[in-house]
């Protein structure tokens, strides 16, 4: 019998040694005469447990992690004996929190301190039982509470299937949405997306159905669908995970978008910082083409859709939709003034749907399961699920897909387990480099577009970056200005010049001269940037800066300035 073993090929897992672990498993299996099929799946998104190795058993998949190459020999030995060994559970006590000792002697294994992993396999199939004594044993993957607590619509297959197996994809429910869409009129597809209440996941939360409707109604000899996969925000990695873990869901979503608006060609604009994701995506596109999923006759329906992958060149501002279009056109990534909207006059002057990758990847679920199933989850006007990304100084960093409305504190403290360093949380930045820093006193804020805006923040692309009490907030404010200066497209003065002046003002505050006056100047400068900038790069840089100043005035050596920043336009 050949044992299927899953070792993620996700770059987050690769960064902590997944390739070495996969190689060690292959070598060790050979040595021990164990027939093994290695599947390089995506990541489940439990990054503190990566490399997370899963073994398929009749009772489901069993997880071990984080695995190091040193520990592979013992792991494989356990597996080699398991299928042949019908005896009841091994002598070792089932591993629960705080118990086991890792095989690497020099440092305590990170998982030792992990108290939240649910225990073991009571009542499970015996074939799995001999595994339970392994020190890295985590139990059935699906029972790990971080996963179990999620509602996975968009990421349902990520980390589960072989990302480049179209058969796996189909077997796990893939292409159902597209099959449904092929039988519908464009208007009906758009209606479904509208009724689902899907809002753009790229940051602004604009209703996707309305955007699509505009493109559908727009006249033009050709139209385009563009995926914004220029995930540049610090603290975000959901687009990358999906491209590496379930690329066909994006392809399916784009084809459906094409059917909905009458476009037959699409672009995926990804980033050069994601070479692994781009390689997987490129392969997935080739597979989809040769399987007739993309091309002149999609699934033998007579419909046409093709997709090209374009790679950016290290400019954050190219995530802004109009700058992105300029970039695909081969120009500098400068922001265009709106109107005209891209929906009317977008790529190469043609009506264009431009959506965030997660937005498009949410569409197959909506078409497959129905708008109501999607809209049933969520909070207020934010329907469906959000792929929350827990990052930075956090114990259980990873991807947590859940309905909108969960509180920030629950995400950070409960689900994320507080800081990785074990020190108190001082601030969390939500929504990338243009997002506000929230102190723990605002942890009751529900994860929802409007709720965050009401507290001078934004959820952006769903990234949460946690800082412990060693962070100096004046330095973070300085960095926000510096980042804006580095990444400004240069089109408008408040952003181009204001950010450089902003760095200087914060430097003077940090140096401690006439702090009150400079803080007032900084607030004034932020006001100018906020209301005078053409796009959100200059317009939202005031969020991190002013939130740092407002919530952590002591870090600037000042008392709080009166009044709060007004909500963004």
């Amino acid at each position: 019998m050949t044992l299927r073993i899953f070792v993620p090929g996700d770059s987050g897992a690769l960064a902590v040694g997944a390739d070495e672990v996969a190689a060690a498993i292959a070598a060790e299996a050979g040595k021990q005469g164990l027939a093994v099929t290695l599947v390089r799946n995506g990541s489940r998104g439990l990054y503190w447990l990566e490399p997370l190795v899963e073994v398929e058993t009749p009772a489901g998949r069993i997880a071990f992690g984080p695995v190091t190459p040193d520990e592979v020999q013992e792991l494989v030995a356990g597996l080699a004996s398991a299928p042949a060994d019908p005896s009841p559970p091994g002598e070792g006590p089932p591993r629960s929190g705080g118990g086991g000792v890792g095989a690497s002697p020099e440092e305590p294994h990170p998982s030792q301190s992990f108290a939240r992993i649910p225990s073991p396999l009571e009542g499970r199939d015996r074939a799995a039982a001999p595994f339970t004594s392994h020190p890295l044993y985590l139990g059935p993957t699906e029972d790990i509470s971080f996963l179990k607590r999620q509602t996975r619509f968009t990421f349902a297959r990520c980390g589960v299937i072989d990302p480049l197996s179209l058969e796996d994809y189909r077997a796990a429910g893939g292409l159902k949405g597209l099959q449904a869409a092929l039988a519908l009129t464009p208007e009906t597809i758009v209606d479904q997306v509208t009724q689902a209440g899907l809002r753009g996941r790229g940051g602004a939360g604009f209703p996707t159905g309305i955007k699509w409707k505009t493109v559908l109604a727009a006249e033009g000899p050709r139209k385009f669908v563009v995926t914004n996969a220029d995930e540049g925000d610090s603290g975000t990695f959901a687009d990358r995970m999906l491209m590496e873990g379930d690329p066909f869901v994006l392809i399916e979503g784009m084809i459906i978008a094409g059917l909905a608006v009458g476009a037959s060609h699409g672009y995926i604009y990804s980033r050069s910082e994601y070479p692994h994701a781009n390689r997987v995506m490129e392969k997935a596109l080739a597979i989809a083409e040769s399987a007739g999923l993309l091309g002149m006759d999609i699934l033998a329906s007579g419909r046409t859709f093709t997709i090209e992958l374009r790679i950016g060149a290290g400019a954050y501002v190219c995530g802004e939709e109009t700058a992105l279009l300029e970039s695909i056109e081969g120009k500098r990534g400068q922001v265009r003034a709106k109107p005209p909207l891209p929906a009317i006059k977008g790529l190469f002057g043609a009506p264009t749907v431009i959506n965030n990758l997660l937005t498009l990847a949410s569409v197959p679920f909506i078409l497959a399961e129905g708008a109501a199933a999607y809209a049933a989850v969520g909070f207020g006007r934010s329907r469906g699920t959000m792929a929350v990304q827990l990052a930075g100084n956090i114990r259980h960093g990873g991807l947590f897909e859940t309905g909108f409305g969960v509180s920030l504190g629950e995400l950070v403290e409960d689900i994320g387990g507080g800081t990785a360093t074990g020190r108190p949380v001082k601030a969390v930045q939500v929504g990338g480099p243009l997002g506000a820093y929230f102190p723990p006193s605002l942890f009751d804020t529900p994860f929802d577009y409007e709720a965050f805006a009401a507290r001078d923040g934004l959820i952006g692309h769903g990234g949460i970056v946690v800082f412990d009490d060693t962070v100096e907030m004046a330095q973070q404010a300085r960095f926000a200005m510096e980042f804006c200066a580095i990444e400004s497209c240069g089109k408008c003065t408040p952003c181009r010049i204001g950010s450089t002046r902003g760095v200087e003002v914060v430097d003077r505050i940090i140096a401690g001269h006439d702090v009150e006056a400079d803080a007032a100047l900084l607030a004034d400068l932020c006001d100018t940037m906020k209301f005078g900038s053409l796009c959100a790069l200059g317009g939202f840089t005031p969020y991190p800066v002013m939130s740092a100043l407002t919530h952590f005035p002591q870090d600037f050596g000042i008392v709080p300035p009166n009044g709060r920043m007004e909500a963004a336009e």
Binding site: Y274, I311, G330
Partner: protein, 171 residues
């Protein structure tokens, strides 16, 4: 457009910068994108991957082939952080300097790497062995601080791992 015309052009190729064979290679790369709409970025990526940088000589040729002005193409090349005007070192070390990595001691790791290599961000060691570049997020924010060395990703950097990284690229 013929090579000789470029050779006479003061803004174009100096024979030292590109050999005839290199010019041919450049033209072959560009020709490979015939019919691709908005091909400037893919072409520049291809040139950089073949030459290690974007030679100044490529600008007028590309402008001609894409029917755009030199100023425009020059603007494109200089706008994007990725495109280099000089060859990089044998190894390229990209260190993430963005917030999630900062929150896990990324700034300290950056100092360690800078000191270990004896260069600052954006510089190449005198022996041409290593180029150090800042990058703003590699999508490895849950295993921060992160780096990419010649395309290979490294997470959870600390002083020890930074030391190993330095030893690997600059032994």
């Amino acid at each position: 457009m013929s090579q000789s015309r470029h050779a006479k052009d003061p803004l174009a190729v100096t024979p030292k910068e590109l050999s005839g064979a290199q010019l041919d290679e450049l033209l072959t790369i560009i020709a490979g994108f015939e019919g691709v709409e908005g091909a400037a970025l893919p072409i520049l990526h291809a040139i950089q991957s073949a030459f290690g940088y974007v030679p100044q000589a490529a600008v007028p040729i590309l402008a001609d082939k894409l029917n755009r002005s030199r100023a425009e193409i020059h603007g494109v090349v200089t706008f994007y952080h990725d495109f280099r005007s000089q060859p990089a070192g044998q190894h390229v070390v990209k260190l993430c300097r963005a917030e999630a990595c900062q929150s896990m001691g990324g700034n300290h790791v950056a100092e360690v790497v800078e000191a270990g290599l004896g260069i600052g961000m954006g510089e190449t060691t005198a022996d041409g062995r290593v180029t150090l570049e800042p990058v703003y997020c590699l999508g490895l924010c849950a295993v921060a601080p992160a780096a990419m060395v010649d395309g290979r990703v490294i997470g959870r950097l600390d002083e020890a791992k930074a030391g190993a990284l330095i030893a690997e690229v600059a032994p």
